[in-house]
Symmetry: C2
Subunit: 153 residues, 2 copies
């Protein structure tokens, strides 16, 4: 699908988009954590060993941010990927050296009643590691533009 | 509350925690976007002007990450702030120069049946800008440890 710009009208329920993959290093995990989630299990291998995670783990918000990057590059919507809401679960953490990949599937297409130039798209985005384990399950509510109607028609 | 470590048993429904505040610059918005959400409305003022946002706006995931930082520093749970799930809406975007602040309120306390050393806490975290507008409304599901019982009792 790379490069094809998709309008609301081009989408169908069940349609799926596979992202590229991205490897997350221990340094990536610590850098994100220092800025946004400075807790021992995200910052330091030794300190993490004695926590609920039993070892260094990425912040869930880091997994979410990397997932967004993979979605933006694979779900090429006209006007961009514009989120209004999200429901996220993190069944297991992203670990140092994990390679993440996202499959996005269209769950629902809801034309807007009040704004005829757009619709709401419910998109499920499953982020998996190299063992095919789900590290994040996201249900996103997106605003997507309809294909413009020629004026004067 | 700063510095006090709180166990599940120390929490009550309705209890609230106010965070410090953090200012977000245009440079911050663009830096996050380059790495995690490289779309025109998050990267460039001029390109953003013609989009649904009508000007530069932070990625929702950037607002979420900054919110997490403010929560970690203000909700001082024993064992840390450990999220299992989150429901997020972004009623309006974070703009360059906005100062964000988070109020976290306990909605629900659910002792674990299977794991007596912990419980589930539902925490609502409202992120507001300097105009008191909500930029993010988060309902987080956290795992929180119970106060350890002396052994041999």
């Amino acid at each position: 699908m790379g490069g094809t710009v998709l309008y609301f009208d081009d989408l169908s329920v069940g349609q799926a988009f596979d992202s590229a993959s991205r490897k997350i290093s221990a340094a990536d995990i610590k850098q994100f954590a220092r800025e946004y989630d400075p807790q021992p299990f995200h910052l330091d291998e030794e300190a993490a060993a004695d926590t609920i995670f039993g070892g260094l783990a990425a912040s869930g918000w880091h997994t979410a941010a990397v997932t967004m990057r993979l979605i933006v590059d694979s779900v090429t919507l006209a006007g961009g990927v514009i989120g209004a809401a999200a429901e996220v679960t993190w069944p297991r953490p992203t670990r140092p050296g994990d390679t993440l990949q996202v499959t996005s599937t269209i769950l629902e297409l809801i034309p807007s009643r009040s704004k005829p130039d757009r619709g709401i798209v419910k998109l499920r985005c499953e982020t998996r590691n190299q063992h095919d384990d789900v590290v994040q399950d996201l249900k996103a509510t997106l605003v997507v533009y309809r294909r413009p109607v020629p004026t004067g028609a």
